[in-house]
């Protein structure tokens, strides 16, 4: 989170608690919208190869899941009800990110240099002097700045943190990535949660670091943008490196060709309904919906659901990789997970 006075012009300010709730729902959807693209890239990397790249993409994807939880915790803390399983929750890929300036689209694609370029755009740090347009935010950081500003202003006169405490996801539920879950019950914890989302994504105070070591005493890690940049540049950062200077550490080997050649932005309608490929795509989407339903329950009063949903997360992975092994055209491209909404029953 940038330091100094808020940079929000009057027109872009969030004025009511209801609007703040809508923004936080959008935050959840925004954090989620990056997960299918990251998972496609991750699962397209063949097992055992490209370890550093796959660790980087995996760690970022896991932290996006953490951000979803943190945003849901803030929304629950102000009495909101996160909605995770509605028909429009998953964007239709390729898509502009919610509330973005529509300068680029994000798709479901295999791991490649072009994909990593897109990831860099997603995680790009805010330019200090570029105030957001009304309702259009140049970066994710600016979007969160507006939420932070609203939390501070709206809680000044009355207690907006009226949510039930037992709806919060608690720290022991999260593992496998940097940072940690914070239960949110007041302005301080809400700001800390938002700070973690932005810090992990863009870095803290225009450094390459993600700030987790300040809150959690962890070993120093780099923000998402800089982790992706390591792949892009084929070189690791060192602790002395700066955003401008780029990475100067040891080389990071990337085997760009050692991936499943997934056809971009797969859709169920690519295949005849009822064909084996259609069935496999459908089954994948059913599984993904089952996961979203689990998360919906976890964020709406059954936090323990998060733990049992791990089994479904593995299922998502297995089915996605299975699709990526199925050839679909003469050029040697393969099927892939389409991440489409399917209703509970056929």
């Amino acid at each position: 989170m940038s330091e100094g006075p808020p940079n929000i012009p009057e027109a872009a300010r969030i004025k009511t608690v209801a609007s703040l709730k809508r923004h936080l729902q959008t935050a959840i959807e925004l954090e989620h919208s990056t997960i299918p693209p990251y998972l496609c890239a991750l699962y397209s990397i063949k097992d055992g190869d490209n370890l550093p790249s796959s660790q980087i993409v995996r760690s970022v994807a896991v932290e996006e899941m953490l951000h979803m939880i943190l945003a849901a915790n803030v929304l629950n803390a102000i009495g909101g009800e996160p909605s995770i399983n509605h028909p429009r929750f998953i964007p239709e890929y390729p898509t502009y990110l919610p509330h973005s300036d529509r300068s680029f689209k994000v798709g479901l694609e295999k791991f490649s240099k072009a994909t990593v370029n897109t990831f860099l755009k997603i995680e790009m740090p805010a330019e200090p002097k570029s105030p957001p347009e009304p309702n259009r935010y140049h970066t994710i950081g600016q979007f969160y700045e507006a939420i932070e500003d609203a939390l501070k202003r709206l809680s000044r006169d009355k207690d907006i943190f009226t949510g039930e405490r037992d709806r919060q996801i608690t720290p022991e539920s999260y593992y496998g990535g940097g940072g940690g879950v914070l239960a949110v019950h007041d302005l301080d914890s809400a700001l800390q949660a938002l700070g973690e989302i932005v810090g992990q994504g863009e870095g803290v105070s225009r450094t390459i670091f993600d700030g987790d070591h300040r809150i959690f005493g962890e070993k120093v890690e780099y923000a998402h943008y800089f982790r992706y940049n390591e792949i892009h540049e084929g070189r690791y950062y060192t602790k002395r490196d700066t955003p401008k200077g780029g990475p100067t550490g040891k080389p990071l080997p990337v085997a760009w060709d050692n991936v499943y050649n997934m056809r971009p932005n797969p859709k169920m309608k690519d295949y005849p309904r009822g064909s084996e490929r259609w069935e496999k795509s459908y089954e994948f989407n059913r599984t993904y919906m089952a996961l979203l339903n689990d998360l919906h329950r976890a964020f709406n009063g059954q936090p323990k659901r998060l733990l049992t949903s791990v089994v479904t997360m593995y299922e998502v992975k297995y089915q996605a990789v299975e699709l990526m092994r199925i050839p679909v055209n003469e050029e040697g491209m393969t099927a892939g997970p389409s991440f489409e909404y399917v209703p509970p029953d056929r």
């Binding site: 370890l51 660790q55 995996r58 896991v62 791990v310």
Partner: protein
Amino acid sequence: MTEKSYDVVIVGAGIAGAIVAKTLTQAGYSVLLLEAGLQAGMAFEDPKAYENYQSYLNNYYNALAKVPNAPYPNLQDAPSPNVLDLSPIQGTTPDTTGYFVQKGPLPFASDYARTPGGTTLHWLGTCLRMLPNDFRLKTVYGHGVDWPISYEELKPYYEMAEREIGVSANVEEQVYPNTGEGFFGEDYVFPMHKIPQSYLDQKFTEGVQGMKVGVGGDDIELYVTSTPQGRNSIPNHRYKLTGPVWDPYTNKLVLERSEQASYEPVGSIWDPYTGQRCEGNASCVPICPVQAKYNALKTIKRARRENLDIVTQAVASKIEVDPTTGRVKAISYKKYHDPGSPEHTTETARGTVFAIAAHSVENAKMLLASGVANSSNQVGRNLMDHMVFLTWGLMPERVYPYRGPGSTSNLPVFRDGDFRKRHAAFIMPIDNWGFGWPTGAPYSSLSAAVNQMNLFGKQLRKHIDETVSRQLLLHFECEQLPQSENRVTIDPQYTDPLGNFRPVIQYNVSDYTRAAMAVAKNISNQIFARIGIQDQTQYNPTDSDYLTYDGVGYTFWGAGHLVGTHRMGLTRHDSVVNSQQRTWDHENLFLVGCGNMPTIGTSNPTLTMAALSFWAAENILRDLK
């Protein structure tokens, strides 16, 4: 390397050596760690650590028989025993098929791994403390020997071991017979919550609910409890211990309590975010693919590296003693470059204190080869293991084995009781791995259905679904008493390519333990009848460890719990080390590991060994001060 003299020279990079190395380096002392296994296995950073571990995993995937040592390199220059080498011993001719020279009459059924991290790479991870009466078996039941230390004395070190390994368990569920008050300290909790018990466990538990079994005229009520395990689970936020740290003012290792402390599960050595929770991969033995299960490499990684030199591919072969002072002055080791070639150089490691932690059999071998520490004539004797006695059958409904860790629950009723005057104690783990251990299922289930029942297509699938998913394996780990004729010896006839001795093993099972197998089979029959389990158990005289008791035949398997080859005791006449884990004969020579345990009880011995390793490290620290 030969020039420098270290504060401490440690032989063996398994859990015992790792704990001593970590504790001493963190206290500021210089340590040399010698390891017989390959350099590649000693990598702690990615990508090398990951790549090496992937090579273990690939070995495992490709192995036809998924035995404990399948993933790990078997080195000609530092061979490991392998359970695949077992067969019944014919007459008086020793079986020399494998690394062990088996003189029998029964072949010794357990193995260990000579590789960085040692046998913790393929252990199951069960972390049960021993019971108070296990430490005074002779006094209470008139069998075996007493320990020179009590449960109460060892208790703080158990807590250190549980933190080091990272044990997941719910303390309130750990109810064992005859523990008395305060078995766990007041307010004690384990670092992490219990690993979820399997569905199979739940169905079995429902089946034996309220059941009493008739044993020796008594009716004994069964109960099932969750098993503490060295694999990662959800951290318990009530766990507030850190350390242990060496307190030079009280001369003690202590765990510190801090309200700010929280336990962070220790992930894999190549990536801290891999393996932070058990993923239920179900291949714990022989290899956890994500290192959610503890292994000793995690401890070595936490040693203070600037105080630690590690030399791998270094097989310690001789302990050299100064004849005038009786103190150990050096250890000579054979350094090889190619594990398949006998070429090597002989090097010398010098230090102030020496700790031998190369595994009970290897420790005994080295002491015998060097002619040291054996004024009691106990070195190599009292070799013990748990007799793994198995019964198996089909549950009346599907219980879905082959999921989750090997065993998540146990029946502890027969771990202690007056019956120990008559026969061995045993613990009854419920296994989650179907008939895998005794029959090689599920692979054998499939080949039997195809080859013997001529099934194919839908019928085959239906048959597999209906039978494999109902497989239940019940497991009895029977205590073995110390017997001086169960022993490891050396013989110049039998050496390995480096010229080091191969272990020659004489081994048998006494009636005290055989009687327990008969009792166990009887209990199993009662349980099977109660639940309606179709018994499929078969013991054949051709099994490598087939024996009889009262005219009835039984088969046992090895548990991999090799204990007792250089036991501790109260006097120098009947033991090799004293209660400090120091050899009676050589002031600066410590032995560390399961070999020091005078009896085995009914606990998998690793946790106790880890506790004793902290205990040994503390005594070494007092010496160095």
